[in-house]
């Protein structure tokens, strides 16, 4: 071979080859070409050799060169080789064990976050599952209506149902369903209080599904006196005996015979049938319901349901019904009708619900809080994983040197994350199973009665695990596998700390923003509720017991009850009325005519009151006189027809009288009856403070005193309740004695708000715990990293205080920044939230100050726990260890 060491090919072209020629064949090609160069050189000299060399080099550069396939004899290691997977798990568990503190923090954070998320998932799934179990669910509609004032009304008169059944095409069937909130049931000598009582024609149970154990809609609900019970109620009333064909007395009015038994209705139903009485019975009890032609007014618990024929559209029904109602416009205040799909019914909060309604915004709030909590738990994980990276860097370098590919390492880290997430999921679902039992305290839901575990939960857990693993694992996996082995082994890897805005500080700030927003919202929410509770409603509400009155219209019995009660020293007073001044249900509304109103008419709240009603409730009379028992209607249906009535201040103002005296003597027309105003009482809040003041008219109507209110001596509550019970038994032996405190009733107006604030408190708590755990982990990491520095500083004379400051400053600054971001955010959220309320608190600065102090305080405690420990450490120890 004519090779010459002196004759080298041009270096630049060689470099080109080095850069661009495929790696696998680079060495041999370089060698071959150098040999050939020498050969060509010997053959024809340097120019020729250089020319051929350059030409050859280009011939082996891409795209001309053929790539050598990697040799087959090296078996490619499987990323998911069973031995490797075993190894990953082993290492994962060892790591968890080695860094107990970090594992604990990660696990706690993830468990809390995931647990709450799982519970929220159950709630949301439950609420969305309402009434989807009916076999014809896609064809079932609720009839909803809007009155001429734009308010949604729930009641559906029989005329509408008759029209739907007979005149409107596309409707398979339509029917009314009437509910009463409670009734007294007497079986033999035993008296029960029965809730969820319905009056229904057979059609309703053909539209809606029920599991019949005995009987059928047609056979069990057609005749007067028929009643269908659910299994549970049957068991309760008849103590486990076969209930079929047994009879009981209903509200001391009618005897009913059990003609059918159904299985307990699922808890995700707007129709909690416990007792279904045939509508024929209802018609007999309330003869006005025999009229199938009327279109106006009605009880809001008398609602309408429609089963459409297949493939017919509800729109045309809406149009036809709305057109029909125009013909009845003197009879009704309703201006339009609309069929509401049964799937939407549960989320309609304007309707009067047989069960309960779920506001859509609350569902969205739940979902976003769940996402937030998962998110901040993931942030912890990412932060701690990043700071642990340095410890792991040598392991990774070693793995890389031993032949681990990047994919393999990523798989390993995801595996580790997954192990942790999996444990957290297990613990979290355990936590969630417990939490869900208390869900009714947190929001208005009955999810606790339903079975939460099931296929969809498994699917959800699987996806939750996957998503959280990805979210939490991706950044650490990328960061860790990106290390250069050589640097890692030389200890040159460092995770950027302190300077600039690092990802970690951003995440910590974000965590605390979320926690602080939740805290501020919680405090303001609780304040608003306290405001509701404590606001003077314009009447005296303390120490008042209420009992629904049986035997309505029996004046003798009522007066005897009053007299009997007055004998006891513990009872300070008794009055009767349709309702108490503020009540949740049984609101009677009527259109009142008077030329002074805008448009000559106004919607009034109608209240039937006893003569001592206002003095009993300490509602002052502003003008005129109070009512007397002789103020009943006189001269019925003649030109001299008159009833003396009282109105409230608001009504007087609506007539344009600033001075209530001027309203005296005004003539009103109420429900076709003519009345004269003889007195004006001061305004009081008759509904929850979420609404506005309404005009009221007060009439003396002893036939409609539905509720007895009894003022008792607060020092002797128990005796008073007992005395009333004894008197009750003597006078009303067939009725259930169910006294309630008015204050509890008024508090229940704000159940939703109260629950929401419980809910927010929980989440603010979880949020700040997770955040603080993360902070704790970060600080302890920084402390370990800077042990030597602290030692040197102490040796050089730094004080404990200065070291604590050094360690805590950055973290507290982050929390402070979070506060600056959170405050306006929370302010805006609460502004929007409170804008729904007429009577509301001001958003005051001190609330923000408290939230700031609390979070900064918690953060400071967390940080100082570690930093004080570090600052007090003996420098000799920290400097000696290597």
């Amino acid at each position: 071979m004519k090779s010459s060491n002196k004759n080298y090919p041009p270096r630049w072209i060689e470099r080109l080859l080095t850069w661009f020629h495929p790696e696998e064949t680079r060495e041999e090609v370089l060698g071959d070409l150098e040999e050939l160069y020498a050969y060509w050189y010997g053959e024809r000299g340097s120019y020729y050799a250089a020319f051929r060399y350059i030409f050859s080099v280009f011939s082996v550069l891409p795209p001309f060169v053929r790539r050598r396939k990697p040799a087959h004899k090296y078996s490619k290691p499987l990323i998911f080789h069973p031995d490797m997977i075993q190894n990953y798990f082993k290492i994962a568990f060892r790591n968890l064990q080695k860094n107990k503190l970090y594992s604990f923090i990660n696990l706690t954070g993830l468990t809390l976050g995931l647990g709450v998320a799982i519970a929220l998932f159950w709630i949301v799934r439950f609420e969305y599952s309402f009434d989807n179990y009916h076999s014809k669910a896609d064809r079932i509609y609720r009839v909803s209506s809007t009155d001429k004032f734009g308010a949604e009304q729930s009641h559906i008169p029989q005329g509408v149902i008759k029209a739907l059944n007979t005149q409107i095409p596309g409707v398979e069937m339509a029917a009314n369903l009437q509910a009463v909130s409670s009734a007294s049931i007497k079986v033999g000598t035993e008296i029960f209080d029965q809730k969820n009582v319905f009056f229904s024609p057979p059609q309703i149970l053909k539209i809606l599904d029920a599991k019949w154990i005995e009987g059928s809609p047609e056979n069990s609900l057609s005749a007067v006196g028929n009643v269908v019970l659910d299994e549970e109620t049957a068991k309760k009333l008849f103590h486990g005996d076969d209930a079929m064909h047994k009879t009981f007395r209903f509200d001391n009015q009618v005897d009913l015979t059990v003609s059918g038994i159904i299985k307990k209705v699922p808890s995700n139903s707007e129709f909690p049938f416990q007792m279904i009485i045939s509508r024929e019975t209802w018609k007999q009890m309330q003869p006005e319901f025999q009229n199938e032609e009327y279109w106006g007014g009605g009880d809001s618990m008398n609602q309408g349901f429609v089963l459409m024929k297949e493939k017919s559209s509800p729109e045309s029904v809406n149009r036809q019904l709305t057109k029909m109602v125009q013909k009845h416009k003197y009879e009704t205040i309703i201006s339009s009708y609309e069929l509401q799909p049964i799937s939407k019914m549960h989320f309609d909060t304007y309707k009067d619900s047989y069960n309960y309604s779920m506001p859509q915004w609350l569902i969205y709030t739940l979902i976003s809080i769940g996402l937030f909590l998962i998110f901040i738990a993931c942030i912890n994980f990412v932060n701690l994983a990043t700071v642990q990276a340095i410890q792991r860097s040598r392991e990774i370098a070693m793995r890389k040197i031993l032949g681990s590919g990047k994919g393999q390492l990523i798989a390993q880290f995801f595996g580790e994350t997954f192990v942790l997430v999996f444990i957290a999921l297990l613990l979290g679902s355990f936590f969630a199973t417990n939490l869900i039992q208390y869900s009714a305290e947190l929001i208005n839901t009955k999810v606790a009665d339903s079975a939460v575990w099931g296929f969809s939960t498994m699917v959800f857990l699987f996806f939750l695990g996957l998503v959280v693993t990805l979210l939490a694992g991706i950044y650490p996996a990328m960061l860790l596998t990106g290390f250069q082995p050589i640097k890692a082994l030389q200890n040159k890897v460092f995770v950027p700390t302190g300077k600039g805005i690092s990802l970690r500080s951003t995440l910590v700030v974000l965590q605390f923003v979320i926690a602080q927003v939740l805290i501020i919202c919680t405090i303001l929410g609780i304040k608003q509720i306290r405001y509701f509770y404590e606001k003077d409603l314009g009447f005296e509400k303390s120490a008042i017991l209420t009992i629904p009155m049986p035997e309505r219209g029996n004046n003798n019995l009522r007066e005897r009850f009053r007299q009997d009660l007055s004998r006891h020293a513990e009872i300070k007073g008794v009055t009767f009325g349709l309702t108490t001044p503020a009540s949740k249900r049984n609101h009677w509304w009527g259109t009142v005519l008077n030329p002074n109103f805008q448009g000559n008419e106004k919607s009034f709240r109608i209240q039937h009151v006893d003569t001592n009603y206002f003095s009993f409730f300490h509602i002052p009379l502003l003008a005129g006189r109070g009512l007397t028992s002789s103020d009943t209607t006189t001269g019925m249906k003649t030109s001299s027809e008159n009833t003396d009535v009282l109105i409230n201040e608001k009504a007087a103002r609506d007539m344009g009288f600033k001075d209530p005296e001027k309203a005296l003597g005004q003539r009103l027309e109420i429900w076709d009856g003519k009345a004269t105003v003889v007195g004006v009482v001061k305004n009081y809040y008759s509904e929850s403070l979420k609404g506005n003041l309404m005009p009221h008219v007060f009439l003396y109507r002893s036939w409609n005193f539905q509720l007895a209110s009894i003022r008792i001596d607060p020092a002797h509550k128990a005796e008073a309740i007992q005395h009333i019970g004894q008197d009750w038994k003597v006078l009303f032996p067939n009725n259930y004695y169910d006294p309630k405190f008015l204050e509890d009733d008024i508090k229940s107006f704000y159940d939703n708000e109260q629950k929401l604030s419980n809910f927010l408190t929980l989440f603010a708590g979880v949020g700040i715990i997770i955040g603080s755990l993360g902070l704790f982990g970060l600080v302890s990491f920084v402390v370990t990293q800077r042990t030597k520095e602290i030692g040197v500083r102490k040796v050089l004379g730094a004080t404990v205080g200065s070291i604590i400051t050094l360690l805590s400053r950055d973290f507290l600054a982050m929390v402070a920044i979070a506060f600056v971001i959170a405050s306006p955010l929370a302010w805006y959220v609460m502004k929007v939230f409170l804008s729904d309320y007429t009577y509301k608190i001001d958003i005051e600065i001190w609330v923000f100050a408290i939230a700031g102090i609390v979070t900064i305080g918690v953060a400071f405690l967390t940080v100082s726990f570690q930093s004080i420990k570090a600052a007090l450490m003996n420098p000799v120890k920290s400097l000696k260890s290597e």
């Binding site: 370089l30 071959d32 070409l33 050969y39 011939s59």
Partner: protein
């Protein structure tokens, strides 16, 4: 008969690898082809052909030990496989058979 098609240049490269035996690597094959056939070949063509022949299973290769020559770079020594020598034999056999079918006076070897 089913066999892998061997192109003309491939055949030459393969033959050359057989001829050079222990010394068959990119540079020598290139050199020998130029010397024996007198035609100028591009190194890239030889390189690519060798890789292709190896992929087809006619050749195997191993990296030789490091030498002091050519900057200490290793050579890739090519060895013909059983499949490779079989293919060469097949081609020769085919040619032979075909030549025997050529009528005696059609091609005057001397006139070439």
């Amino acid at each position: 008969m089913k066999r892998t098609y061997l192109g003309e240049f491939e055949e030459i490269v393969l033959l050359m690898a057989v001829i050079l035996d222990e010394h068959a690597y990119g540079a020598t094959i290139n050199q020998e082809i130029e010397e024996r056939t007198g035609r100028k070949v591009t190194f890239g063509t030889v390189h690519n052909t060798l890789i292709r022949l190896e992929e087809k299973g006619f050749l195997t290769s191993r990296l030789g030990g490091a030498t002091t020559e050519r900057g200490g770079r290793r050579k890739r020594i090519f060895t013909v496989t059983a499949l490779g020598s079989r293919a060469l034999h097949d081609i020769q056999q085919l040619r032979k058979e075909l030549w025997e079918l050529v009528p005696p006076n059609v091609i005057q070897l001397s006139s070439l």
